[in-house]
């Protein structure tokens, strides 16, 4: 039984009754209800406790501006905090709970804050918790505050829902589908524009939905239906319901968030009687993020009503006048029995008339304006309806505990107050155009005295406000403005609007100006006059902030928390800044507004990554050998976007033990590693040698065909950029390898130089990373293994260190053309074999088969890293960390004096030559102590913090071949410290070890193995 539901009227579907639950109590609403309207239909006004004082709160608004009726929705992973009951559509089985109360909504311990409120004034957060000044105490306070204050709780379970992105382009984007927006979309579409129209509501029509108004001489509902049908039938018009434009960005990009599933039960499969099209099946995304590029935008976002600060204006039963009318007319609710209207403007009189039609007694309309000025159409209608009007008066305060029971009305001129018993207060301090997106487009606002608010003035973007968003106060002007804005936007989009298009019309409503009224005089000490219902900011708080020197509205906002939270002050902001202006004695227009930042309303974080979440947060790249690696038990590790085998653990073997075994096997037998992920860039053209001379520190014009060379590139400032090997395949054909992670960056860098700095050079660069599968064969037995499968002489004489050649590899697929390189990263005798990617698996299998007699094993990146640390080869990113020079790394002998290169000139800068630079060294721990992770190098580990730091460990490992813990490190003046004993300490790991400094090469320093 819905005891407050009217028998007729509204747009709810009385044939579809929906059961739902609030705070464990079962209720029923109708299809078409919001949670708020369904609660009101059941007579439930008390829905939450306030943020700071834990005061009982009801439903203030009927839309996105709601500050108080925030609920915890759903359970488990789909539990969502701070859902506005006023926008949450009702579905069967909806379950919601109130927030910020304990143990119950009606009896809340936290309400003690209300009594003790003198102890927690504005800014108490900053005043009280400053002592003692240590972070530890602050953390304690913070814990208590977080528990006492706040809203709902977010689920910590993974989000079970999906989100997707959609890009769209249009001539005219119409934001808001009330009368102005519909008129704009209609005229723009008739002018031939491609139109996209969105509205945050489930129904088209905005304020006109369910309203008793007349458009084009018929009921408004008829016009709404005809217009939306006409638009839906137009193939050039896209209509998005339940879609909020939340942000306006550069280049006329507007972000929309479309709700696809939040209005149906989360147990989607169990949905009965709902259309299967949207959100009804589990594979549908929950929300869709639209990125719309519009040539022109019509802003028909309507307006938000604001409150007036009087004592206890937050008692449940108090509602903004427009919202109350919405609940009566759209949802057919009789929200109480006896109402008082407190308003300073004409539109609120429509609420009085609606209340009367709904059978609610209107005890009085309290209006600060003079009775003689109440000559607008609506006040006259109220008089005709014999509704008592108390002019030149205000509501000074309200009475009640969990619900309003009476108000005191005071004449402005002074004198005795008069008490009116009531269970409803319809409050209106005027209307603020929803200028959020206009402001985000860098539009400027101006203060309008007749409306007592800020209205759009000028924007550099092609954005046209229309209707209530532009300050229009009646339906007739909203329709006319919308119609004109649609045509103007079509013209901005470049369309020639030829034939005259007839505008929809309504009868203009004469109205008088709003009288600015922000607060009424305080009645008693401690009686709170709320400005911001969500953050519990009162008129006195704003006065206090002003007294304490917060003269800028931006500062006042942060000091008092005015306009923060989920509603971002949609009801409160203008009132707050007007009160500040009064305090400062300045015009309201001079004080200005706070910045309107996106999003307009809260947007689910999951919508921003969309599909790019979980394993898809980045694309994944796989070697052609990936399936083989999986089949052979590889553990994978990320290298840039690539998945590379870390190691190949055998049954019962840990990944680390596997890596040790693999690294040992390379030094004793032979191993093979997939190096397909290394960047491979082909360079062709007459001037490649000259180009390489310019970008590498070493010399390239001396490199013979069929030879390769290691090279180091510098940034402009002399710091190491990347390293790698480049081979000369033919006189004007080179192949450069880069580090896996830097491949794309180096390619783009070379393209930049060739296109912008040296376009005269005849050089073409092409990435061929994915065209080749590459394997490195390393170990003492590498040569005999290779000799079994290639058709060229690989003896040391015929194919020496740094040789490059073309050959064929005998595989199960027959001979496969290959490029063979004799280069070594491990320090062992080693070869790299490159074959076309589709032959990679055949080559890999052929090498493994040929090496079986020699104990060949695949090895992963961990063993590769161990081998290169043993050998002292640097890695860009670890040893070359964006601060190191070639000299720091001991590579200065590579620098050619014969030619200049990028970065070469600045190598002479004093800072790069100064003593104390961190230089690459090798470290061995004493007594075989494990090297801790993330260690820094110090002389005295017992030095009081901050410890002077000599450097840090860049790479470390357990060396299976030395049977020791070794590391590479950058240490101040490291080359002069060989032989010294220092400490490696890691506060992070809580460990310290003594280390002996030496050269950064632990195996075969003369390079006999790799040349043998």
């Amino acid at each position: 039984m819905q005891r407050c539901r009217l028998p007729i009227g509204g747009v709810v579907d009385r044939s579809r009754s929906l059961p739902f639950e609030f705070d464990g109590v079962g209720y029923e609403g109708y299809a078409g209800d919001t949670l708020a309207s369904a609660l009101l239909a059941n007579g439930v006004h008390l829905v939450g406790r306030s943020f700071k004082y834990h005061r009982p709160r009801g439903i203030l608004c009927a839309g996105v501006d709601e500050p108080n009726a925030l609920v915890q929705l759903g359970r488990g992973a789909r539990s969502e905090p701070n859902v506005r009951a006023t926008t949450q559509e009702l579905y069967a089985g909806l379950s919601a709970a109130s927030q910020n109360r304990w143990p119950s909504l009606a009896f809340d311990i936290g309400a003690i804050n209300d009594v003790a409120s003198r102890l927690i004034p504005a800014g108490f957060y900053y005043k009280t918790f400053m002592w003692p000044p240590t972070p530890k105490w602050w953390l304690r306070y913070e814990h208590l505050i977080r528990h006492a204050a706040g809203m709902g709780r977010a689920s910590s379970l993974p989000d079970p829902d999906g989100y997707e992105h959609q890009y769209a382009h249009c001539d005219v984007l119409v934001i808001g589908a009330g009368p102005a927006g519909l008129a704009a979309a209609r005229s723009a579409a008739l002018a031939g524009a491609r139109v996209l129209m969105c509205d945050e509501n489930p129904a088209w029509g905005g304020s006109a939905v369910g309203a008793s108004a007349t458009i084009d001489d018929g009921p408004a509902g008829t016009w709404l239906e005809a217009t939306t049908r006409e638009l839906a039938a137009n193939p050039d018009v896209t209509l998005l319901r339940r879609t909020t434009a939340f942000g306006y960005y550069d280049g006329n990009l507007v972000g929309l968030i479309e709700q696809l599933a939040d209005h149906v039960s989360p147990s989607r499969d169990a949905v009965v009687g709902s259309a299967p099209a949207r959100g009804a099946t589990s594979w549908m995304p929950r929300q869709r993020l639209w990125k719309v590029r519009a040539k022109a935008v019509v802003l028909a976002t309507g307006a938000h009503e604001r409150g007036i600060a009087y004592a206890n204006n937050d008692l449940p039963g108090t509602m903004l006048a427009g919202a109350m009318r919405t609940y009566i007319e759209r949802y057919a609710i009789r929200p109480g029995t006896r109402a008082v209207i407190f308003a300073n403007n004409d539109p609120a009189y429509a609420t009085a008339l609606a209340l009367q039609r709904a059978g609610v007694e209107v005890a009085a309309i309290v209006d600060p304006r003079a009775g003689a000025s109440l000559q607008g159409a609506l006040p006259l209608a109220a008089r005709d309806a014999r509704i008592p009007i108390v002019a030149r008066s205000v509501v000074a305060g309200a009475h009640g505990r969990l619900h309003v029971t009476a108000v005191d009305v005071a004449p402005l001129a002074g004198g005795a107050t008069q008490r009116f018993d009531c269970d409803l207060v319809a409050l209106s301090g005027g209307w603020n155009p929803a200028v959020h997106l206009f402001s985000q487009s860098r539009g400027k606002l101006r203060y309008d005295d007749a409306l007592a608010t800020f209205v759009p003035d000028y924007s550099p973007a092609p954005i046209t406000p229309a209707g209530a968003a532009n300050g229009a106060t009646d339906l007739a002007s909203a329709l006319a403005e919308g119609h004109d804005a649609g045509l103007a936007a079509a013209r901005q989009a470049g369309l020639a609007v030829a034939a005259p298009i007839r505008s929809p019309h309504a009868v203009p409503l004469a109205s008088e100006a709003t009288r600015a009224l922000w607060s009424t005089a305080p009645v008693a000490k401690g009686a709170k006059r709320f400005v911001d219902w969500q953050n519990d900011v009162t008129a006195d708080d704003i006065a206090l902030g002003a007294r304490e020197g917060y003269r800028s509205i931006e500062h006042l906002k942060r000091y008092t928390t005015l306009g923060m939270g989920t509603d971002q002050g949609k009801v409160s902001n203008i009132v707050g800044l007007a009160l500040l202006a009064n305090q400062l004695g300045r015009p309201i227009g001079d004080v200005g507004t706070t910045t309107f930042r996106p999003p307009y309303t809260p947007v689910t974080l999951g919508a921003f990554p969309g599909h790019d979440a979980g394993p898809h947060v980045e694309p994944s790249r796989f070697s052609t050998l990936h399936d083989w690696h999986i089949a052979h038990g590889a553990r994978f590790v990320n290298a840039g976007l690539w998945k590379r085998p870390h190691s190949y653990p055998r049954a019962g073997e840990s990944a680390d033990d596997a890596a040790l075994r693999e690294a040992r096997n390379v030094r004793t037998n032979v191993g093979i590693v997939d190096v397909s992920t290394l960047g491979k860039i082909e360079l062709q053209g007459r001037d490649v040698a000259e180009f390489l001379n310019r970008i590498y520190i070493n010399r390239w014009d001396t490199l013979a065909v069929c030879r390769c060379r290691y090279g180091v590139m510098l940034r402009d400032d002399g710091i190491v950029l990347d390293d790698g090997t480049t081979s000369r395949l033919a006189p004007s054909h080179y192949l450069m390898t880069t580090t896996t992670v830097n491949a794309a960056r180096v390619l783009q860098y070379m393209e930049s130089l060739l296109q912008t700095e040296w376009p005269e050079l005849d050089v073409f660069v092409t990435s061929v990373t994915e065209q080749w599968t590459a394997a490195a064969l390393a170990g003492p037995a590498a040569r005999p293994v290779l000799a079994r499968i290639v058709d060229i002489d690989v003896s040391n004489e015929a194919f020496p260190f740094l040789a490059v050649g073309a050959c064929h590899v005998r595989t199960a697929l027959g001979p496969v053309p290959a490029r063979l390189f004799r280069m070594s990263y491990s320090g062992e005798l080693a070869y790299e074999i490159h074959v076309p990617a589709d032959k990679g698996r055949a080559m890999w299998n052929a090498v493994l088969a040929a090496g079986a007699d020699y104990g060949i094993m695949p090895y992963g990146t961990e063993a590769m890293g161990t081998l290169r640390i043993e050998k002292g080869h640097i890695v860009v990113g670890a040893e070359a960390d964006g601060r190191t020079t070639a000299d720091d790394l001991g590579l200065s002998e590579l620098v050619s004096r014969a030619k200049p290169c990028i970065g070469g000139r600045l190598l002479a800068r004093p800072g790069l030559k100064a003593p104390g630079r961190w230089q690459l060294v090798g470290l061995v721990t004493l007594n075989d102590a494990p090297m801790p992770r993330a260690a820094k190098i110090v002389v005295n580990p017992d030095h009081a913090p901050p410890q002077p730091m000599l450097g840090h460990v860049t790479s470390w490992c357990r060396s299976p071949n030395l049977q020791a813990w070794i590391a590479l490190a950058l240490v101040a003046d490291g080359r002069a410290r060989h032989g010294e004993t220092l400490w490696a300490v890691s506060p992070l790991a809580g460990a310290r070890v003594q280390v002996q400094v030496g050269p950064p090469c632990f195996i075969d320093p003369k390079g006999e193995r790799l040349r043998g």
């Binding site: 890009y167 960005y249 006329n252 990009l253 990125k291 860098r442 930049s752 290169c901 990028i902 000139r905």
Partner: protein
């Protein structure tokens, strides 16, 4: 998100592009004096208003070009291939 007019591909979303820094500063000759390199690398203006900068259409035609962008408003005033002035190019 900017809408960047690639001189070859037309207006495209910013996500397709890579920013490449100040286009008003040219690298000195490789053998130019150290002082010239020092000025080019370290002494940079931070202009307020229209500014030429390098962008690469890295997820498109892979060409580098100059974009004139107002650093106050993000408005893009034009673009041009290397060696030409953005003002002369398509808007």
């Amino acid at each position: 998100m900017l809408l960047i007019p690639c001189p070859w591909c037309g207006p495209r979303n910013q996500i397709e592009f890579t920013y490449g820094g100040d286009a008003t500063v040219r690298r000195p000759a490789l053998d130019a004096p150290e002082s010239e390199w020092y000025r080019a690398v370290y002494i940079r203006d931070n202009p307020m208003g229209p500014h030429d900068e390098w962008w690469a259409h890295s997820a498109g035609c892979r060409q580098w070009f100059v974009v004139s962008r107002d650093t106050r408003t993000h408005e893009i005033l034009g673009s041009a291939p290397p060696g030409r002035t953005p003002g002369q190019a398509t808007r």
